[in-house]
Amino acid sequence: MAGVGSGYDLSTTTFSPEGRVYQVEYAVKAVEQSGTVIGVRCVDGVVLAVENLRSTKLLQPNSLRRVFAVDRHIGIAIAGIGPDGRQMVSRARSEAQNFRNVYAEEIPPSLLAERLASYAHVYSLYWHVRPFGCAILIGGWDETSGPCLYIVEPDGSGYKYRAYANGKGRTAVRTALNKLNFDQLTCADAVSEIALMIHQSRDIAKDKPYELEMAWISEVCDRQFARVPMSLISSARQRAELEHQQMEGDASPGADAAEAAGTNVMEES
Protein backbone atom coordinates (compact mmCIF):
# COMPACT_ATOMS: atom_id res chain seq x y z
CA MET A 1 0.00 0.00 0.00
CA ALA A 2 3.09 2.20 0.26
CA GLY A 3 3.05 4.82 -2.44
CA VAL A 4 5.37 4.99 -5.38
CA GLY A 5 7.08 8.07 -4.10
CA SER A 6 7.42 6.85 -0.53
CA GLY A 7 8.46 9.60 1.79
CA TYR A 8 8.10 12.27 -0.84
CA ASP A 9 4.37 11.87 -1.34
CA LEU A 10 2.87 13.05 1.92
CA SER A 11 2.42 16.73 1.24
CA THR A 12 1.77 19.06 -1.63
CA THR A 13 4.74 21.10 -0.44
CA THR A 14 7.16 18.28 -1.17
CA PHE A 15 8.83 17.64 -4.52
CA SER A 16 10.14 14.15 -5.19
CA PRO A 17 13.75 13.84 -6.41
CA GLU A 18 12.41 13.52 -9.99
CA GLY A 19 10.53 16.77 -9.62
CA ARG A 20 7.04 15.42 -9.16
CA VAL A 21 4.41 16.47 -6.68
CA TYR A 22 2.84 13.18 -5.78
CA GLN A 23 0.00 14.57 -3.69
CA VAL A 24 -1.38 16.31 -6.75
CA GLU A 25 -1.05 13.12 -8.76
CA TYR A 26 -2.99 11.25 -6.09
CA ALA A 27 -5.73 13.85 -6.35
CA VAL A 28 -5.89 13.05 -10.05
CA LYS A 29 -6.38 9.40 -9.05
CA ALA A 30 -9.52 10.45 -7.19
CA VAL A 31 -10.81 11.95 -10.42
CA GLU A 32 -10.09 8.82 -12.40
CA GLN A 33 -12.19 6.71 -10.05
CA SER A 34 -15.39 8.64 -10.57
CA GLY A 35 -18.17 7.73 -12.93
CA THR A 36 -17.38 8.72 -16.50
CA VAL A 37 -17.82 12.40 -17.25
CA ILE A 38 -17.93 13.75 -20.79
CA GLY A 39 -18.01 17.20 -22.31
CA VAL A 40 -18.45 17.80 -26.03
CA ARG A 41 -18.43 21.05 -27.94
CA CYS A 42 -20.77 20.90 -30.89
CA VAL A 43 -21.60 23.30 -33.70
CA ASP A 44 -24.74 24.56 -31.97
CA GLY A 45 -23.79 24.26 -28.33
CA VAL A 46 -21.94 22.29 -25.72
CA VAL A 47 -23.09 19.13 -23.94
CA LEU A 48 -22.06 17.99 -20.47
CA ALA A 49 -22.79 14.42 -19.46
CA VAL A 50 -22.19 12.29 -16.39
CA GLU A 51 -22.51 8.58 -15.78
CA ASN A 52 -24.17 8.97 -12.42
CA LEU A 53 -23.48 5.77 -10.49
CA ARG A 54 -26.22 4.60 -8.13
CA SER A 55 -24.83 2.81 -5.11
CA THR A 56 -28.22 1.91 -3.62
CA LYS A 57 -31.76 1.81 -4.87
CA LEU A 58 -32.78 3.88 -1.88
CA LEU A 59 -31.52 6.93 -3.78
CA GLN A 60 -34.15 9.20 -5.23
CA PRO A 61 -34.06 9.07 -9.05
CA ASN A 62 -32.33 12.07 -10.66
CA SER A 63 -30.73 13.10 -7.40
CA LEU A 64 -27.03 13.35 -6.45
CA ARG A 65 -26.35 15.67 -9.31
CA ARG A 66 -22.96 16.22 -10.81
CA VAL A 67 -23.87 18.91 -13.35
CA PHE A 68 -24.67 22.39 -12.09
CA ALA A 69 -25.67 25.74 -13.46
CA VAL A 70 -23.17 28.49 -12.72
CA ASP A 71 -24.78 31.33 -14.59
CA ARG A 72 -27.45 31.47 -17.25
CA HIS A 73 -24.89 30.76 -19.95
CA ILE A 74 -22.47 28.47 -18.10
CA GLY A 75 -22.68 25.00 -16.56
CA ILE A 76 -20.14 22.83 -14.78
CA ALA A 77 -19.83 19.04 -14.69
CA ILE A 78 -17.79 17.43 -11.93
CA ALA A 79 -15.47 14.46 -12.29
CA GLY A 80 -14.14 13.12 -9.00
CA ILE A 81 -15.06 13.95 -5.43
CA GLY A 82 -18.55 15.45 -5.54
CA PRO A 83 -18.35 17.72 -2.50
CA ASP A 84 -15.06 19.20 -3.75
CA GLY A 85 -16.73 19.85 -7.06
CA ARG A 86 -19.63 21.61 -5.42
CA GLN A 87 -17.15 23.87 -3.70
CA MET A 88 -15.73 24.76 -7.11
CA VAL A 89 -19.24 25.39 -8.37
CA SER A 90 -20.03 27.84 -5.61
CA ARG A 91 -16.74 29.60 -6.27
CA ALA A 92 -17.62 29.72 -9.95
CA ARG A 93 -21.02 31.23 -9.17
CA SER A 94 -19.51 33.97 -7.09
CA GLU A 95 -16.86 34.66 -9.73
CA ALA A 96 -19.58 34.98 -12.35
CA GLN A 97 -21.62 37.30 -10.19
CA ASN A 98 -18.57 39.32 -9.27
CA PHE A 99 -17.67 39.85 -12.88
CA ARG A 100 -21.18 40.94 -13.68
CA ASN A 101 -21.27 43.40 -10.80
CA VAL A 102 -18.10 45.04 -12.04
CA TYR A 103 -18.54 44.92 -15.82
CA ALA A 104 -22.33 44.55 -16.20
CA GLU A 105 -21.71 41.72 -18.64
CA GLU A 106 -21.73 37.96 -18.61
CA ILE A 107 -18.39 36.47 -17.68
CA PRO A 108 -16.67 34.90 -20.70
CA PRO A 109 -16.26 31.16 -20.05
CA SER A 110 -12.55 31.46 -20.83
CA LEU A 111 -12.06 33.96 -18.04
CA LEU A 112 -14.10 31.88 -15.62
CA ALA A 113 -11.91 28.89 -16.45
CA GLU A 114 -8.80 30.95 -15.83
CA ARG A 115 -10.06 32.19 -12.49
CA LEU A 116 -11.12 28.73 -11.36
CA ALA A 117 -7.77 27.31 -12.44
CA SER A 118 -6.04 29.88 -10.25
CA TYR A 119 -8.38 28.95 -7.43
CA ALA A 120 -7.59 25.24 -7.81
CA HIS A 121 -3.89 26.00 -8.12
CA VAL A 122 -3.77 27.80 -4.77
CA TYR A 123 -4.94 24.57 -3.16
CA SER A 124 -1.93 22.72 -4.55
CA LEU A 125 0.64 25.02 -2.96
CA TYR A 126 0.32 24.91 0.81
CA TRP A 127 0.74 22.19 3.40
CA HIS A 128 -2.38 23.18 5.26
CA VAL A 129 -4.76 22.55 2.39
CA ARG A 130 -5.12 19.74 -0.10
CA PRO A 131 -5.72 19.93 -3.82
CA PHE A 132 -9.28 19.55 -5.10
CA GLY A 133 -10.03 15.90 -5.77
CA CYS A 134 -11.98 16.82 -8.84
CA ALA A 135 -11.64 17.99 -12.40
CA ILE A 136 -14.33 20.31 -13.63
CA LEU A 137 -15.74 20.66 -17.12
CA ILE A 138 -16.92 24.17 -17.84
CA GLY A 139 -19.38 24.37 -20.69
CA GLY A 140 -20.45 27.80 -21.76
CA TRP A 141 -21.53 30.17 -24.45
CA ASP A 142 -19.08 32.91 -25.33
CA GLU A 143 -20.55 36.14 -26.73
CA THR A 144 -17.94 36.32 -29.48
CA SER A 145 -16.80 32.78 -30.18
CA GLY A 146 -19.91 30.72 -29.41
CA PRO A 147 -20.01 27.43 -27.53
CA CYS A 148 -16.88 26.38 -25.70
CA LEU A 149 -15.55 23.80 -23.28
CA TYR A 150 -12.83 24.31 -20.68
CA ILE A 151 -11.34 21.89 -18.18
CA VAL A 152 -9.74 22.72 -14.86
CA GLU A 153 -7.66 19.94 -13.34
CA PRO A 154 -6.65 19.41 -9.70
CA ASP A 155 -3.16 20.78 -10.34
CA GLY A 156 -4.62 24.13 -11.35
CA SER A 157 -4.16 23.83 -15.07
CA GLY A 158 -6.91 24.93 -17.40
CA TYR A 159 -7.30 23.86 -21.00
CA LYS A 160 -9.71 24.46 -23.82
CA TYR A 161 -11.09 21.29 -25.34
CA ARG A 162 -13.22 20.19 -28.23
CA ALA A 163 -14.23 17.12 -26.27
CA TYR A 164 -13.06 15.69 -22.99
CA ALA A 165 -13.64 12.63 -20.88
CA ASN A 166 -12.50 11.57 -17.46
CA GLY A 167 -13.47 8.99 -14.85
CA LYS A 168 -13.58 5.22 -14.98
CA GLY A 169 -14.39 4.83 -18.65
CA ARG A 170 -12.11 7.59 -19.90
CA THR A 171 -9.82 5.46 -22.06
CA ALA A 172 -12.55 3.91 -24.15
CA VAL A 173 -14.50 7.14 -24.35
CA ARG A 174 -11.49 9.23 -25.38
CA THR A 175 -10.86 6.83 -28.24
CA ALA A 176 -14.47 7.13 -29.31
CA LEU A 177 -14.43 10.91 -29.01
CA ASN A 178 -11.47 11.10 -31.38
CA LYS A 179 -13.61 9.54 -34.10
CA LEU A 180 -16.33 12.21 -33.97
CA ASN A 181 -16.65 14.73 -36.75
CA PHE A 182 -16.79 17.96 -34.81
CA ASP A 183 -17.44 20.14 -37.85
CA GLN A 184 -20.94 18.74 -38.20
CA LEU A 185 -21.77 17.38 -34.78
CA THR A 186 -24.95 18.90 -33.31
CA CYS A 187 -25.97 18.75 -29.68
CA ALA A 188 -28.76 16.30 -30.48
CA ASP A 189 -26.24 13.99 -32.18
CA ALA A 190 -23.85 14.34 -29.30
CA VAL A 191 -26.49 13.20 -26.82
CA SER A 192 -26.90 9.85 -28.53
CA GLU A 193 -23.16 9.48 -29.19
CA ILE A 194 -22.42 10.10 -25.52
CA ALA A 195 -25.08 7.65 -24.40
CA LEU A 196 -23.47 4.99 -26.56
CA MET A 197 -19.94 5.81 -25.40
CA ILE A 198 -20.86 5.62 -21.76
CA HIS A 199 -22.76 2.41 -22.25
CA GLN A 200 -19.88 0.80 -24.12
CA SER A 201 -17.28 1.90 -21.61
CA ARG A 202 -19.02 0.01 -18.84
CA ASP A 203 -18.35 -3.42 -17.47
CA ILE A 204 -21.88 -4.73 -17.17
CA ALA A 205 -20.92 -7.50 -14.77
CA LYS A 206 -19.00 -5.26 -12.37
CA ASP A 207 -20.27 -1.71 -12.57
CA LYS A 208 -23.07 -0.29 -10.49
CA PRO A 209 -26.30 0.76 -12.16
CA TYR A 210 -26.21 4.29 -13.48
CA GLU A 211 -28.29 7.24 -14.52
CA LEU A 212 -27.37 9.47 -17.41
CA GLU A 213 -27.26 13.06 -16.33
CA MET A 214 -26.99 15.56 -19.14
CA ALA A 215 -27.19 19.28 -19.59
CA TRP A 216 -26.47 21.57 -22.48
CA ILE A 217 -26.02 25.17 -23.38
CA SER A 218 -27.25 25.32 -26.94
CA GLU A 219 -29.18 27.20 -29.61
CA VAL A 220 -32.15 24.95 -28.84
CA CYS A 221 -32.53 26.42 -25.39
CA ASP A 222 -31.71 30.03 -26.16
CA ARG A 223 -28.00 29.66 -25.36
CA GLN A 224 -28.91 29.10 -21.76
CA PHE A 225 -28.00 26.30 -19.41
CA ALA A 226 -30.72 23.65 -19.49
CA ARG A 227 -31.12 20.01 -18.60
CA VAL A 228 -31.45 17.75 -21.60
CA PRO A 229 -35.09 16.57 -21.57
CA MET A 230 -35.49 13.22 -19.82
CA SER A 231 -37.33 11.76 -22.80
CA LEU A 232 -34.36 12.52 -25.05
CA ILE A 233 -31.90 10.99 -22.62
CA SER A 234 -33.86 7.81 -22.07
CA SER A 235 -34.46 7.25 -25.77
CA ALA A 236 -30.75 7.83 -26.44
CA ARG A 237 -29.92 5.34 -23.75
CA GLN A 238 -32.33 2.75 -25.08
CA ARG A 239 -30.85 3.13 -28.55
CA ALA A 240 -27.36 2.79 -27.10
CA GLU A 241 -28.25 -0.38 -25.25
CA LEU A 242 -29.84 -1.85 -28.36
CA GLU A 243 -26.89 -0.92 -30.56
CA HIS A 244 -24.49 -2.30 -27.99
CA GLN A 245 -26.37 -5.60 -27.90
CA GLN A 246 -26.23 -5.86 -31.66
CA MET A 247 -22.52 -5.17 -31.69
CA GLU A 248 -22.02 -7.74 -28.94
CA GLY A 249 -24.05 -10.18 -30.98
CA ASP A 250 -21.83 -9.65 -34.02
CA ALA A 251 -18.70 -9.96 -31.99
CA SER A 252 -19.75 -12.77 -29.72
CA PRO A 253 -18.19 -15.75 -31.57
CA GLY A 254 -14.83 -14.01 -31.51
CA ALA A 255 -15.22 -13.06 -27.89
CA ASP A 256 -16.07 -16.63 -26.99
CA ALA A 257 -13.02 -17.86 -28.82
CA ALA A 258 -10.81 -15.37 -27.05
CA GLU A 259 -12.26 -16.40 -23.73
CA ALA A 260 -11.69 -20.06 -24.55
CA ALA A 261 -8.13 -19.28 -25.52
CA GLY A 262 -7.71 -17.42 -22.25
CA THR A 263 -8.82 -20.39 -20.19
CA ASN A 264 -6.55 -22.67 -22.16
CA VAL A 265 -3.56 -20.57 -21.38
CA MET A 266 -4.55 -20.58 -17.75
CA GLU A 267 -4.71 -24.32 -17.69
CA GLU A 268 -1.37 -24.75 -19.34
CA SER A 269 0.35 -22.49 -16.92
Binding site: G3, Q23, S63, P83, R86
Partner: protein
Amino acid sequence: MFRSQYDTDVTTFSPQGRLLQVEYAMEAVKQGSAVVGVRSSTHVVLATLKRSFSDLAWHQRKIVSIDEHIGVAISGIAADARVLTKRMRDECLQHRFVYGSAMPVSRLVNVIADLCQKCTQRVSRRPYGVGMLIAGVDETGPRLFQTCPSGEAYDLIGMALGSRSQSARTYLERHDEEVSSATREELIRHAVAALRETLASTRDLTLTAENCAIGVVGVGSDTRFHLYEYEEVQPLLDACSLESSPLQSASAGGADPPAADPEATDDATMQDAP
Protein backbone atom coordinates in the same frame (compact mmCIF):
# COMPACT_ATOMS: atom_id res chain seq x y z
CA MET B 1 -3.09 -3.80 11.99
CA PHE B 2 -1.37 -2.25 9.03
CA ARG B 3 -0.86 1.38 9.58
CA SER B 4 -1.13 3.63 6.59
CA GLN B 5 1.15 6.62 6.49
CA TYR B 6 -1.52 8.56 4.60
CA ASP B 7 -4.18 8.58 7.28
CA THR B 8 -3.17 11.21 9.78
CA ASP B 9 -4.68 14.34 8.28
CA VAL B 10 -7.39 15.36 5.88
CA THR B 11 -5.00 17.11 3.53
CA THR B 12 -3.26 13.90 2.50
CA PHE B 13 -4.48 11.80 -0.39
CA SER B 14 -3.58 8.11 -0.37
CA PRO B 15 -1.90 6.84 -3.56
CA GLN B 16 -5.33 5.53 -4.60
CA GLY B 17 -6.79 9.01 -4.33
CA ARG B 18 -8.69 8.32 -1.11
CA LEU B 19 -8.98 10.56 1.91
CA LEU B 20 -8.54 8.21 4.83
CA GLN B 21 -9.17 10.78 7.55
CA VAL B 22 -12.52 11.53 5.98
CA GLU B 23 -13.29 7.83 5.77
CA TYR B 24 -12.44 7.48 9.46
CA ALA B 25 -14.84 10.31 10.22
CA MET B 26 -17.50 8.30 8.40
CA GLU B 27 -16.72 5.46 10.84
CA ALA B 28 -17.66 7.75 13.71
CA VAL B 29 -21.18 7.85 12.27
CA LYS B 30 -21.41 4.08 12.65
CA GLN B 31 -20.56 4.34 16.35
CA GLY B 32 -23.82 6.07 17.18
CA SER B 33 -27.01 4.19 17.94
CA ALA B 34 -29.22 3.47 14.98
CA VAL B 35 -31.48 5.98 13.29
CA VAL B 36 -33.87 5.19 10.46
CA GLY B 37 -35.61 7.47 7.99
CA VAL B 38 -38.27 6.50 5.47
CA ARG B 39 -40.20 8.52 2.97
CA SER B 40 -43.45 7.87 1.16
CA SER B 41 -45.15 10.10 -1.36
CA THR B 42 -46.89 11.94 1.48
CA HIS B 43 -44.79 11.61 4.63
CA VAL B 44 -41.34 11.22 6.10
CA VAL B 45 -40.76 9.31 9.31
CA LEU B 46 -37.65 9.22 11.46
CA ALA B 47 -37.26 6.47 14.04
CA THR B 48 -34.38 6.40 16.49
CA LEU B 49 -32.95 4.23 19.18
CA LYS B 50 -31.77 6.26 22.16
CA ARG B 51 -28.97 5.11 24.41
CA SER B 52 -28.56 5.78 28.06
CA PHE B 53 -25.01 5.76 29.35
CA SER B 54 -25.96 4.83 32.87
CA ASP B 55 -29.04 3.96 34.85
CA LEU B 56 -28.86 7.43 36.31
CA ALA B 57 -28.65 9.14 32.95
CA TRP B 58 -31.38 10.32 30.66
CA HIS B 59 -31.54 8.77 27.23
CA GLN B 60 -29.55 10.74 24.70
CA ARG B 61 -31.81 12.65 22.33
CA LYS B 62 -31.40 11.64 18.72
CA ILE B 63 -33.95 13.81 16.96
CA VAL B 64 -33.95 17.59 16.95
CA SER B 65 -36.42 19.84 15.26
CA ILE B 66 -34.92 22.55 13.09
CA ASP B 67 -37.88 24.54 11.91
CA GLU B 68 -41.60 23.95 11.78
CA HIS B 69 -41.22 21.79 8.70
CA ILE B 70 -37.85 20.10 9.28
CA GLY B 71 -36.53 17.59 11.79
CA VAL B 72 -33.18 15.86 11.94
CA ALA B 73 -32.02 12.51 13.29
CA ILE B 74 -28.34 12.30 14.18
CA SER B 75 -25.81 9.54 14.54
CA GLY B 76 -22.20 10.02 15.56
CA ILE B 77 -20.57 12.64 17.71
CA ALA B 78 -23.44 14.45 19.42
CA ALA B 79 -21.44 17.60 20.08
CA ASP B 80 -20.63 17.97 16.38
CA ALA B 81 -24.28 17.47 15.61
CA ARG B 82 -25.18 20.30 17.94
CA VAL B 83 -22.99 22.68 15.98
CA LEU B 84 -24.54 21.62 12.69
CA THR B 85 -28.13 21.65 13.91
CA LYS B 86 -27.65 25.09 15.40
CA ARG B 87 -26.39 26.27 12.03
CA MET B 88 -29.39 24.67 10.36
CA ARG B 89 -31.77 26.49 12.68
CA ASP B 90 -30.00 29.75 11.92
CA GLU B 91 -30.23 29.12 8.19
CA CYS B 92 -33.96 28.39 8.39
CA LEU B 93 -34.57 31.50 10.46
CA GLN B 94 -32.53 33.56 8.05
CA HIS B 95 -34.53 32.23 5.13
CA ARG B 96 -37.78 33.06 6.88
CA PHE B 97 -36.49 36.51 7.69
CA VAL B 98 -35.38 37.28 4.15
CA TYR B 99 -38.06 35.59 2.06
CA GLY B 100 -40.89 35.25 4.56
CA SER B 101 -41.29 31.56 3.86
CA ALA B 102 -40.02 28.16 4.91
CA MET B 103 -36.62 27.12 3.63
CA PRO B 104 -36.61 24.42 0.96
CA VAL B 105 -35.14 21.27 2.50
CA SER B 106 -32.68 20.62 -0.31
CA ARG B 107 -31.26 24.12 -0.04
CA LEU B 108 -30.68 23.68 3.66
CA VAL B 109 -29.01 20.35 3.04
CA ASN B 110 -26.66 21.89 0.49
CA VAL B 111 -25.58 24.57 2.93
CA ILE B 112 -24.71 21.93 5.52
CA ALA B 113 -23.00 19.69 2.98
CA ASP B 114 -20.81 22.56 1.79
CA LEU B 115 -19.99 23.36 5.40
CA CYS B 116 -18.92 19.74 5.97
CA GLN B 117 -16.80 19.77 2.82
CA LYS B 118 -14.82 22.76 4.00
CA CYS B 119 -13.61 20.75 6.99
CA THR B 120 -12.21 18.09 4.68
CA GLN B 121 -9.84 20.35 2.82
CA ARG B 122 -7.70 22.06 5.41
CA VAL B 123 -5.79 20.80 8.42
CA SER B 124 -7.07 23.39 10.84
CA ARG B 125 -10.40 21.64 11.41
CA ARG B 126 -11.28 17.98 11.52
CA PRO B 127 -14.35 16.82 9.62
CA TYR B 128 -17.63 16.70 11.52
CA GLY B 129 -18.03 13.14 12.83
CA VAL B 130 -21.75 13.05 12.38
CA GLY B 131 -24.25 11.68 9.91
CA MET B 132 -27.70 13.17 9.75
CA LEU B 133 -31.03 12.17 8.32
CA ILE B 134 -32.90 15.32 7.48
CA ALA B 135 -36.66 14.98 7.12
CA GLY B 136 -38.82 17.79 5.94
CA VAL B 137 -41.62 18.94 3.74
CA ASP B 138 -41.63 21.81 1.26
CA GLU B 139 -43.23 22.83 -2.04
CA THR B 140 -41.74 19.75 -3.68
CA GLY B 141 -43.37 17.43 -1.15
CA PRO B 142 -41.87 15.30 1.60
CA ARG B 143 -38.08 15.00 1.45
CA LEU B 144 -35.49 12.84 3.15
CA PHE B 145 -31.76 13.58 2.94
CA GLN B 146 -28.63 12.16 4.43
CA THR B 147 -25.49 14.20 5.06
CA CYS B 148 -22.03 12.75 5.60
CA PRO B 149 -18.77 13.97 7.14
CA SER B 150 -17.38 13.93 3.59
CA GLY B 151 -19.73 16.70 2.53
CA GLU B 152 -21.81 14.46 0.33
CA ALA B 153 -25.58 14.71 0.59
CA TYR B 154 -28.02 12.09 -0.63
CA ASP B 155 -31.65 12.50 -1.60
CA LEU B 156 -33.32 9.31 -0.45
CA ILE B 157 -36.50 7.31 -0.03
CA GLY B 158 -35.09 5.51 3.00
CA MET B 159 -31.87 5.20 4.94
CA ALA B 160 -30.48 3.95 8.22
CA LEU B 161 -27.33 5.14 10.00
CA GLY B 162 -25.50 4.06 13.12
CA SER B 163 -24.57 0.76 14.67
CA ARG B 164 -25.92 -2.37 12.97
CA SER B 165 -27.80 -0.20 10.53
CA GLN B 166 -26.96 -2.46 7.58
CA SER B 167 -29.81 -4.81 8.47
CA ALA B 168 -32.22 -1.87 8.55
CA ARG B 169 -30.99 -0.75 5.12
CA THR B 170 -31.51 -4.26 3.82
CA TYR B 171 -35.05 -4.15 5.18
CA LEU B 172 -35.68 -0.82 3.46
CA GLU B 173 -34.22 -1.96 0.16
CA ARG B 174 -36.42 -5.03 0.30
CA HIS B 175 -39.54 -2.96 0.97
CA ASP B 176 -38.76 0.07 -1.17
CA GLU B 177 -41.92 -0.10 -3.25
CA GLU B 178 -44.27 -0.62 -0.32
CA VAL B 179 -42.59 2.25 1.49
CA SER B 180 -43.09 4.73 -1.29
CA SER B 181 -46.84 4.06 -1.47
CA ALA B 182 -47.35 3.66 2.28
CA THR B 183 -49.87 5.59 4.35
CA ARG B 184 -48.74 7.55 7.39
CA GLU B 185 -49.39 4.62 9.74
CA GLU B 186 -47.79 2.07 7.46
CA LEU B 187 -44.76 4.30 7.10
CA ILE B 188 -44.31 4.53 10.85
CA ARG B 189 -44.56 0.77 11.07
CA HIS B 190 -41.94 0.36 8.34
CA ALA B 191 -39.63 2.74 10.17
CA VAL B 192 -40.06 0.89 13.45
CA ALA B 193 -39.68 -2.47 11.76
CA ALA B 194 -36.44 -1.32 10.13
CA LEU B 195 -35.20 0.04 13.44
CA ARG B 196 -36.04 -3.25 15.09
CA GLU B 197 -33.79 -5.04 12.63
CA THR B 198 -30.84 -3.25 14.20
CA LEU B 199 -31.71 -4.78 17.57
CA ALA B 200 -31.63 -8.36 16.33
CA SER B 201 -28.37 -9.33 17.97
CA THR B 202 -29.25 -8.18 21.45
CA ARG B 203 -32.19 -10.23 22.56
CA ASP B 204 -32.95 -8.38 25.73
CA LEU B 205 -33.18 -4.93 24.16
CA THR B 206 -36.58 -3.96 22.83
CA LEU B 207 -38.07 -0.70 21.72
CA THR B 208 -39.73 1.08 24.61
CA ALA B 209 -41.18 4.48 25.25
CA GLU B 210 -37.88 5.38 26.92
CA ASN B 211 -35.43 4.37 24.24
CA CYS B 212 -37.37 5.07 21.08
CA ALA B 213 -38.42 8.34 19.53
CA ILE B 214 -40.27 8.91 16.28
CA GLY B 215 -40.51 12.05 14.21
CA VAL B 216 -43.18 12.59 11.58
CA VAL B 217 -43.64 15.28 8.96
CA GLY B 218 -45.64 15.30 5.77
CA VAL B 219 -48.25 16.96 3.63
CA GLY B 220 -51.76 17.88 4.73
CA SER B 221 -52.22 18.01 8.48
CA ASP B 222 -48.63 16.96 9.15
CA THR B 223 -46.75 19.95 7.74
CA ARG B 224 -45.46 20.64 11.23
CA PHE B 225 -42.66 18.29 12.27
CA HIS B 226 -43.85 16.33 15.26
CA LEU B 227 -41.62 14.43 17.62
CA TYR B 228 -43.20 11.51 19.48
CA GLU B 229 -41.34 10.74 22.69
CA TYR B 230 -42.01 8.96 25.98
CA GLU B 231 -45.74 8.56 26.61
CA GLU B 232 -46.57 9.84 23.14
CA VAL B 233 -44.51 7.22 21.36
CA GLN B 234 -46.02 4.28 23.24
CA PRO B 235 -49.25 4.14 21.19
CA LEU B 236 -47.20 4.14 17.99
CA LEU B 237 -45.01 1.31 19.26
CA ASP B 238 -48.06 -0.61 20.40
CA ALA B 239 -49.57 -0.28 16.96
CA CYS B 240 -46.34 -1.55 15.47
CA SER B 241 -46.01 -4.44 17.87
CA LEU B 242 -48.87 -6.11 16.07
CA GLU B 243 -45.70 -7.56 14.64
CA SER B 244 -44.11 -7.11 11.33
CA SER B 245 -45.48 -10.37 9.90
CA PRO B 246 -48.78 -8.99 8.55
CA LEU B 247 -46.89 -6.00 7.18
CA GLN B 248 -44.36 -8.08 5.32
CA SER B 249 -47.00 -10.27 3.77
CA ALA B 250 -49.06 -7.32 2.65
CA SER B 251 -48.51 -6.58 -0.98
CA ALA B 252 -47.85 -3.06 -2.18
CA GLY B 253 -51.46 -2.40 -3.02
CA GLY B 254 -52.81 -4.50 -0.15
CA ALA B 255 -55.21 -3.29 2.50
CA ASP B 256 -54.04 -1.91 5.80
CA PRO B 257 -53.19 -5.00 7.78
CA PRO B 258 -54.00 -4.82 11.46
CA ALA B 259 -54.87 -8.49 11.06
CA ALA B 260 -56.07 -10.35 14.08
CA ASP B 261 -53.16 -11.14 16.30
CA PRO B 262 -54.56 -12.76 19.42
CA GLU B 263 -51.83 -11.42 21.69
CA ALA B 264 -52.29 -7.88 20.59
CA THR B 265 -56.05 -7.48 20.49
CA ASP B 266 -56.13 -4.96 23.29
CA ASP B 267 -53.48 -2.95 21.50
CA ALA B 268 -55.53 -2.85 18.36
CA THR B 269 -57.63 -0.05 19.77
CA MET B 270 -54.50 2.09 19.83
CA GLN B 271 -54.24 1.83 16.09
CA ASP B 272 -54.72 5.24 14.57
CA ALA B 273 -57.34 5.47 11.92
CA PRO B 274 -55.61 6.23 8.61
